[in-house]
């Protein structure tokens, strides 16, 4: 039998402070970069605008394209290399003129540069301001509904405490993903939202597996006398560790392959999925279990203090 962990007995819960610090630092770094860059970047799906993907016959320096587009002055446009130096994404702001006019102007400007050669238009996406706003609102609803759905399921299946901890782990995972996106300059788009929602559903899986084990151990009476709550959780995490890591590993394989070979269009989505799988495993081991332990600790201390106060009075 080939085993990843043989009877693992790591003290995860005991070292939870370190996990908290790492998570908080990463999220702070991510949000710091967001602030420095003026907020999370939204793709045209949410902000509205026009996106044109063009491919030239031969490699073209980005300055050339920039100069060509400056001649038509379309406001703030972003030019981004896409895959190789033949292919570029032109991101043009939403204007009154509509997509047709903007696309026509941009392509006409490119055609005027004789050295560029006529580009092949591979993709045009236009999202009007109204649709962008609608999608924003729908995205927020979708995220809230997902979280509510998971919370309800875990709360019914286990208890409210478990549900809250799962939600905390989910929020943690989403924040980590958003931070990673900001640090690597990725835009929030519809496929990325899909990736985040999938992560929400997936990352809670391992958490459930661990909770289930806590409950099973209790009913089996495997709990030795005097065993603290923290130890129970820690044991459950250790007992389910190999399956937590193995299930994450297979999904990690596929998302990493998707990131590497799935093509430029899917790259961002695959990136977020990959980060989400990693942080989802991390948050199962550290965040969800640890938070419950801390919560229980706070509650016990609070109850003790109240008892003391009552006794004094």
């Amino acid at each position: 039998m080939f085993e990843l962990f043989r009877n693992p007995n790591f003290d995860f819960i005991g070292r939870r402070r370190w996990a908290y610090i790492i998570s908080v630092l990463f999220i702070l770094a991510g949000f710091g970069s967001m602030v420095a860059k003026g907020g999370l970047r939204y793709g045209i799906d949410f902000s509205g605008g026009t996106l044109i993907q063009v491919r030239f016959e031969k490699a073209v320096p980005v300055d050339r394209i920039r100069r060509a587009l400056e001649t038509v002055r379309m406001g703030e446009s972003v030019i981004q290399e896409f895959g190789d130096t033949r292919e570029y994404l032109l991101r043009l702001p939403a204007t009154e003129a509509g997509s047709e006019e903007v696309t026509k102007q941009a392509l006409a400007a490119l055609a005027k540069e004789p050295e560029l050669g006529p580009p092949e238009v591979r993709r045009v996406e236009y999202v009007g301001p109204q649709v962008g706003r609608d999608l924003q609102i729908q995205a927020i609803y979708a995220a809230l509904w997902s979280v509510a759905g998971i919370l309800a399921y875990v709360a019914i299946r286990f208890d409210m405490l478990g549900g809250m901890a799962s939600v905390a782990a989910i929020v943690h995972d989403v924040l980590i993903c958003l931070s990673a996106m900001s640090l690597t300059n990725r835009e929030m788009s519809l496929p990325i939202l899909a990736a985040l929602l999938t992560i929400i559903g997936y990352s809670v899986n391992d958490t459930i597996v661990a909770y289930d084990r806590v409950r099973e151990n209790r009913t089996k009476g495997a709990r030795r006398k005097g065993e603290s709550f923290a130890t129970q959780i820690n044991n459950a995490i250790n007992q389910t560790l190999s399956r937590t890591v193995l299930t994450a590993l297979t999904v990690f394989f596929t998302t990493a392959v998707l990131y590497l070979f799935g093509g430029k269009v899917l790259e961002d989505m695959a990136f977020v999925l990959t980060i989400g799988v990693v942080t989802g495993t991390f948050s199962t081991v550290y965040i969800a279990g640890s938070l419950i332990v801390d919560w229980q600790g706070w509650r016990e201390r609070w109850m003790a203090r109240r008892k003391k106060a009552v006794a004094k009075a």
């Binding site: 039998m1 080939f2 085993e3 993907q53 491919r55 509509g98 997509s99 047709e100 026509k104 092949e120 591979r122 993709r123 045009v124 996406e125 236009y126 999202v127 009007g128 649709v131 999608l135 729908q138 995205a139 609803y141 979708a142 509904w145 997902s146 759905g149 399921y153 299946r157 519809l190 496929p191 939202l193 899909a194 929602l197 999938t198 929400i200 559903g201 997936y202 899986n205 459930i208 597996v209 289930d212 007992q239 399956r243 193995l246 299930t247 590993l249 297979t250 999904v251 990690f252 394989f253 596929t254 392959v257 998707l258 070979f261 799935g262 093509g263 269009v265 899917l266 989505m269 999925l273």
Partner: protein
């Protein structure tokens, strides 16, 4: 336990047979999304208010005619806001008769205000009528666009209403997106209006036009400099003949200039109106107006009794063809606006398919090898189950005519990773039971039944996310939700039911096995 073994084997065989049947032949059974095969995705917003305004204005014209017929002088009729019509009566002595006439003629309106002292009646469109006109505008728009697309010739177009006043148009494999878009989005309101030669256009631009007139422009492009110029014309607001009167339209080539033009045949009523109009106005200029732009304004030389008109104006051959199409299909009842567009060229779609297949194959190989290396024979069983899962996933998509999109390919890749998770949960549990001292059979038994609850848990949470994504998603994202949900659901059958069957066949037979390869 080898309960119902025959039945279970039978079920698996039936499932495989049905899947293969749905998937054959593979090329035509799976529907590729626009992002994979290339094409246009358009969301059009129908400006329904414009349809209301037009309706109100038409009612205004009718009521003016009726009042004048009865000798009641009208000083002004104008639309206020979207659905109000204000009628100013010039002669106070005929107030009662005016009020009766207005109420009679405007059956679709409610009276909002009737001020006898001021001689003013304000009518407002009934709410029920308003809803009806709005709905009709969207429905007719949909029909008209469908007509145009049919005549343009697109294989398997999809045109459907989305929400209250949006139209979703999907045209796979269109080579010239700009042309298709122009064809669909053009209102194509054709009007024949008389030019008011008494007013100088330049003066009118500066100091306004007389009542009943308006300024429209003709675009002229200088052949040498390619500069565009807008030339103003003062025309009468009243359109004598419109696109509604057109029976058919086609492209012809001018013998002298060899330029294409569009020849329009009117229907009987239109032909009569055109004949009368040209008869009464010989020598004047007739503006041919399309969507508020003057195409040309030729002089009427003589009465035209043939019921045929020509629209010239320096068209390219494609422009003339498209104009003929839109004139035949009729005008949109209300203008439309492109709210969202996603156009993918065929080359990008082909690239995406190629990369998607590479990614799916690579992840399958990686997961296959990993499972076999880690779980040996059991891993191989899981791999066979995974293969069956992919077959089921594709067959279900073919059966439901679901669309495979680029994010959908990501969903398949994700399914590959997640489907074996179910087997990992079960195998780890079996290993644990073995370590706990159970026999091989006992461990398999306990592993499957104990892990089942957890398997259900993990399936439910992913399905919750998938359902919400499906509900929310547009095109491509929906495709992702579809593949993910089908794949996850199928893994219940393949990773639990099917794997269990293979285990039963291998380890639960009459011969007792000494070791479990896991």
């Amino acid at each position: 336990m080898r309960r119902n073994l025959g039945l279970r084997i039978g079920l698996v065989i039936v499932v495989i047979a049905v899947s293969v049947w749905y998937l054959y032949p593979p090329r035509s059974s799976i529907n590729l999304g626009l992002d994979l095969q290339g094409g246009i995705h358009l969301v059009l917003g129908v400006d329904v208010d414009k349809a209301l305004e037009a309706q109100v204005e038409r009612a205004g014209d009718t009521v003016r005619g009726e009042l004048e017929k009865k000798g009641i002088a009208v000083s002004k009729i104008e639309r206020r806001g979207i659905s109000d019509l204000a009628i100013q009566i010039a002669s106070p002595q005929s107030w009662d008769s005016a009020l009766t006439t207005v109420t009679e003629v405007l059956g679709a309106f409610d009276r909002k205000e009737a001020d006898q002292a001021a001689g003013r009646i304000v009518m407002t469109l009934k709410p029920r009528e308003t809803t009806q006109i709005r709905e009709l505008a969207v429905r007719q728009g949909l029909e008209t666009i469908r007509n145009r697309v049919d005549q343009f010739g697109v294989a398997e177009p999809s045109i459907q209403q989305q929400g209250e006043n949006r139209i979703l148009v999907q045209l796979p494999g269109v080579q010239d997106p700009a042309r298709a878009k122009a064809l669909i989005g053009k209102t194509a309101l054709l009007e024949f209006k008389l030019v008011d030669d008494k007013v100088d256009p330049e003066t009118a631009v500066r100091s306004g036009v007389p009542d009943g007139d308006e300024i429209l422009y003709q675009r002229r492009v200088d052949k040498e400099t390619h500069q565009e110029r807008k030339v103003p014309f003062v025309v009468q607001k009243k359109a004598y003949v419109t696109g509604r009167d057109v029976a058919t339209a086609r492209v012809s080539i001018d013998q002298n200039t060899s330029e294409p033009y569009v020849s329009v045949d009117f229907n009987a009523a239109g032909g009569r109106a055109f004949s009368d109009l040209t008869d009464a106005n010989v020598g004047r200029r007739l503006a041919i107006v399309l969507d508020g732009n003057i195409h040309s304004a030729p002089q009427i030389r003589e009465r035209i009794p043939s019921g045929r008109a020509q629209i010239t104006g320096g068209f390219t051959s494609a422009e003339a063809t498209d104009l003929a199409i839109v004139l035949r299909a009729g005008a949109l009842p209300a203008p439309v606006q492109v709210l969202e567009e996603r156009t993918v060229g065929p080359s990008l779609g082909a690239d995406s398919v190629r990369q998607g297949i590479v990614a799916i194959l690579a992840s399958t190989v990686l997961v296959f090898v990993f499972m076999m290396a880690y779980y040996r024979l059991s891993g191989l069983i899981a791999d066979v189950a995974l293969g069956l899962n992919l077959l089921l996933l594709l067959a279900t998509m073919a059966g439901f005519h679901a669309t495979l999109t680029l994010p959908g390919i990501a969903g398949i890749a994700l399914t590959i990773g997640m489907a074996v998770d179910t087997n990992i949960l079960i195998f780890e549990r079996i290993r644990e039971e073995l370590r706990g001292g159970k026999t091989i059979r006992g461990a398999i038994e306990a592993g499957f039944s104990r892990a089942f609850k957890t398997v259900i848990d993990t399936h439910v949470t992913v399905l919750v996310s998938g359902l919400i994504l499906f509900q929310f998603g547009t095109g491509p994202v929906k495709g992702f939700a579809v593949t993910l949900m089908i794949g996850i659901a199928a893994s219940l059958f393949t990773a639990v039911f099917f794997t269990r069957l293979l285990f039963d066949l291998l380890y639960m037979g009459p011969h007792k096995r000494e070791s479990l390869s896991i």
